[in-house]
């Protein structure tokens, strides 16, 4: 079986291909929401804090990690919420009956 680092690299390379391919041609209007959405996803760093605190010792280390967790949480919840707000602007409302139907000029 391959060592941890090689396994990690294999996963890293595959994830890179997924990332490159998933964004093919995006309409301009979705650039900002998409940036915001990917931004929320890297809030996954929160997990790093949750893992790191399990084997940290000393006040300073724990203090740093608590801040990291707070930062990560802001990144995650803020990111997803903001993205949702942006996107809700794009939602197609139930088409109102078109007004242009009675030409009278």
């Amino acid at each position: 079986m391959a060592s941890t680092i090689l396994t990690s690299l294999a996963i890293l390379v595959l994830a890179a291909f997924v990332g490159f391919q998933v964004i093919s041609k995006v309409p301009n209007t979705l650039h900002t929401p998409l940036m915001s959405g990917t931004n929320a996803i890297h809030g996954i760093v929160l997990l790093g804090g949750l893992v790191a605190i399990g084997h940290a010792d000393g006040f300073l280390s724990r203090f740093l990690i608590v801040i990291a967790i707070a930062f990560g949480t802001i990144n995650v919840v803020g990111g997803f919420l903001v993205t949702d707000r942006m996107l809700s602007m794009f939602k197609k409302k139930p088409e109102p009956p078109k007004d242009s139907g009675d030409p009278a000029a």
């Binding site: 890293l12 949750l50 740093l64 990560g72």
Partner: protein, 474 residues
């Protein structure tokens, strides 16, 4: 007991991670299409929830750890939720910058804490040490760079480029210091001061790299730093042997790079030219005297709302060209009212959406969608440009740079080469703005001196409301 052990099993947690990153990927895929984007964001969010819960099952976590975790989660939620909820639509880009920054900061802090946990000995296992040093450098750059971007967009720092003397040289030197300190640690030094030096030099680098870039280019900068944070998260994932971090971080790193490239192209910029500092910035307005003859020699003609209303009433096709000023004036609902009045009279109304009108991509779409403008009336630049020649009246509402014919004609113009809306081809042009002040690029707009152009000075919302009421009286 057995059940607990099962759920706390590394394999169970990994399985949950696989589910989580599967949801990130499908969520992201859905985010690239307007019809599925909302759903995609939700799927990704649920994936995140699964990843977090699974991580909390980690048996290494003791009681005091949970207390600290709770503190962090609560602080983060208390800060994050209200800011996301209350931010104004037009302030979204800087909000994203802020959220991106804290992500990078978290990575840098975790790297520091891990360094301390290893008692500074990163030379023992380079497959952990190298990613940690990488995470520290890139995370710190991203944190500080994003904060500067936030400051610029929020107006806390001047949006115009702040030139650093010998900037490129200084930046390279800072990067060299950070890398050299990292190498020293990887070779066996256990000095915490050296690690802090990595963080500090990267921090200064993050500041100096973004300060010289003009506010107009900030969306591209934020997108670049977004990809950086993703990469740093992936590096942290390698160091912590955590698949969820590796996959999610790397996907953002890769897709963020593609996205940055596409954004830069939409604004007719290259990533390289942006990061090396560009034009942009709120340069002083070129002229403020409404009747001063323009470079083109023509004089400016000013008109009244009543006259505009008559002109519109006899048109067959009216194209509304919205710009940043419409957003500032919050005139979207008023414009929609006017359009309804015109449509009642059988006049066709379309909206010409330039990809970089406003201050963020999609800015105009967001605004007009908020005012319930039917989706099929919004025309992208390439679709509408052919139609201006048969347009009776173009109504330019708070737009400026995106209509500037110099981009097509004047090779020494700073915006030369940027694709623009060919408003000058239409039969009549009405421009609604408050003065002769220039727009974002800080340059004159010959369109205003065109023989076919008439200016209606005043706040966009007030002017449009006036036009609408005049229309009602016809």
């Amino acid at each position: 007991m057995i059940a607990t052990a099962f759920f706390q099993d590394v394999d169970f947690i990994t399985a949950a991670y696989i589910v989580a990153f599967g949801m990130f990927i499908s969520g992201l895929a859905k985010l690239t299409s307007p019809t599925t984007a909302v759903q995609g964001n939700k799927i990704a969010a649920v994936g995140m929830g699964i990843a977090v819960v699974a991580t909390l099952l980690n048996p290494d976590l003791g009681g005091s750890d949970f207390a600290l975790i709770a503190v962090g989660l609560i602080i983060g939620t208390v800060i994050g939720v209200p800011s996301a909820r209350n931010v104004k639509m037009t302030a979204m880009p800087q909000m994203v910058a802020l959220f991106n920054g804290v992500g990078g900061g978290a990575v840098a802090l975790i790297a520091w804490a891990e360094f301390r946990t290893a008692h500074g000995d990163l030379s023992a296992d380079l497959s952990v040490g190298i990613p940690l040093v990488f995470a520290a450098i890139v995370g710190s750059i991203s944190f500080w760079g994003s904060n500067v971007a936030f400051g610029k967009l929020q107006g806390l720092i001047s949006g115009s480029p702040i030139k650093i003397p010998a900037g490129l040289f200084v930046n390279i030197a800072l990067l060299a210091i950070a890398i050299a300190s990292g190498v020293a640690i990887l070779l066996g030094s256990t000095s915490e001061g050296l690690f802090v030096l990595i963080l500090v030099s990267a921090a200064v680098l993050g500041n100096l790299a973004v300060l010289p870039i003009g506010g107009a280019d900030m969306p591209v900068v934020i997108s670049t730093l977004n990809a950086f944070t993703g990469l740093s998260a992936a590096a942290a994932g390698i160091a912590l042997d955590n698949y969820a971090l590796i996959v999610a971080g790397m996907i953002v790193g890769a897709s963020g790079t593609i996205l940055t490239d596409q954004m830069a192209k939409a604004m007719n910029r290259s990533i390289g030219s942006v990061l090396l500092g560009g034009f942009g910035g709120e340069a002083p307005a070129a002229g403020n005297d409404p009747t001063r003859p323009g470079e083109t020699g023509g004089a400016v003609r000013s008109t009244s709302a009543a006259d505009v209303a008559i002109l519109l009433a006899y048109a067959r096709l009216v194209v509304v060209v919205p710009g940043y000023g419409l957003a500032v004036a919050q005139a979207q609902h008023t414009v929609r009212e006017m359009a309804k009045a015109l449509e009642k009279k059988g006049i066709e109304v379309k909206y010409a959406i330039h990809p970089v009108a406003g201050r963020m991509p999609g800015h105009m779409n967001v605004l007009l969608a908020e005012a319930d403008v039917p989706y099929d009336q919004l025309k992208e630049m390439d679709d509408i440009n052919g139609e201006f020649s048969r347009t009776d009246v173009s109504l330019v509402i708070g737009a400026n740079d995106v209509t500037n014919p110099d981009a097509r004609l004047k090779a020494d113009s700073p915006i030369y080469g940027m694709p623009i809306l060919n408003v000058d081809e239409s039969k009549q042009i009405i421009v609604l703005k408050r003065s002769m002040a220039s727009g974002f690029a800080g340059i004159e707009n010959p369109l205003f001196y065109n023989d076919k152009t008439q200016m209606l000075f005043g706040d966009a919302k007030a002017s449009v409301a006036e036009i609408t009421s005049e229309l009602g009286q016809l």
